[in-house]
Symmetry: C2
Subunit: 226 residues, 2 copies
DNA sequence: AAATCCAACTGATGTAAATCAACTCAAGGT
DNA sequence: ACCTTGAGTTGATTTACATCAGTTGGATTT
């Protein structure tokens, strides 16, 4: 990783060109929007610090959270297919982003193939993430869903060399429950269970993972772990 | 759409180059595999006729269906991010595919920017499809899930100018239930309910949609429609 | 035609999570 | 200090779906 928001193997010259594209935006306030569903697609965004929630509105008007994005992660690809964003993206906390105008990025990609290639991989990564979520939502219990989310967040923070056992959740219980297809009450109760089992120490939005392995084991078995 | 598997606005010359890449494979038998999870990524595939199921294996060894693909649709993007396919893809019936070797497609894209651009849109479309499925799995009842799947299939067949009210399901009840995060019994019962309500006529894998609007209405309300 | 098989359906029962309903607590506002 | 507000938790009850346990009917075999 470098000063840029994109980790990738390029020579200094190409890197420089890329760097000139990227606009560092002034930090977003909590709840401030990046783009809204229906807005014309213009850019993708990389999270520098803070966190982002993306969600869409169902035909029946209810909000459905489709993703959380942490430092180093990229969002906004959903706008590409139809030239308008399908999701709405807002900051969960004070958040700074890099905006990468897609038109220019695409042009740069045309002259520098490795960039193009890397871009495709980035999009494909979003597909993999989405499919993991699909598997999670289709197959698992409330406990497994929550365990999986916590492990995923922990893992992603670790990749950015941030603390992996102490997590300060930027999202509300309601947002977690919506994302996982549960209710707030269930999320609250499962956190309670995990706490009683000493898997976690929970204090409001502060979560400490005490027994990572126990959470991982939850994912592996349909069986009750007593 | 043209003789090719890819609909897109190119001049005759470019189109010809693209056409030369594409290999029409001999038809697959039902249950025959296209690629397996872990195989090195080499190509994407377009369905010419028939249908494809893609699925992954959970950490606990269970199969999770991640998508069904019908004529005109493209699959295999999930392999791009890590250079190996995450899913396994098999034919649900006798199916013919176009194989499009990615390396060559990518090279062609480097020399013909519109192709590159179109490729990105294709991938992005997969993201949109996945996110719709996420919303479906997270928020909806068994009836809504099934209604949604039937409407989606109907819609996709219609886009390819195939019958939209008479559907011959290529997949088993088990595969449907797995995809939707339900059990076979529930799928069977919901089909029964829809039949009693005269929304559908069901005969094994032959489904006729009698009341499209009723199915659409199911999606719009949390309320019981009595 | 009897025997086997398997997908699909149906019925009875169990249960995880939703729903409904308080209650707690911290953060602002007046 | 008091009132409001909203997020979070906890408890009681309900319910939608899963699970368990057959039954049915078509296809394949013998």
């Amino acid at each position: 990783m470098n000063r840029l928001c994109l980790p990738l193997g390029l020579d200094a010259n190409d890197l420089n060109k890329l760097e000139q594209l990227i606009e560092r935006k002034k930090p977003l306030q909590p709840r401030e929007g990046v783009f809204s569903s229906g807005d014309p697609f213009s850019s993708i965004y990389a999270v520098r610090s803070g966190s982002i929630k993306s969600f869409c509105i169902d035909p029946d008007g209810r909000e459905q959270v489709t993703g959380f994005y942490f430092p180093g992660e990229i969002f906004g690809w959903d706008g590409l297919a139809n030239n308008q964003y399908q999701n709405t993206a807002i900051a969960l906390e004070t958040t700074s982003l890099c905006e990468i105008p897609y038109e220019q990025l695409d042009e740069l990609g045309n002259s520098i193939p490795p960039i193009q290639k890397y871009l495709m991989k980035l999009i494909s990564r979003e597909i993999n993430a989405d499919q993991q979520l699909i598997a999670l939502l289709a197959a698992n219990s409330a406990q497994q869903k929550l365990a999986s989310l916590l492990l995923s967040i922990s893992d992603r923070l670790l990749q950015r060399k941030l603390s992996s056992t102490r997590i300060l959740l930027p999202m509300s219980r309601g947002e977690i429950s919506n994302y996982l297809g549960l209710t707030v009450e269930t999320v609250s109760r499962v956190l309670g269970v995990f706490q009683r089992k000493k898997y976690l120490a929970v204090n409001k939005k502060e979560i400490e993972i005490l027994d990572m392995q126990a959470l991982r084991d939850l994912m592996l078995s349909t069986e009750e772990v007593e």
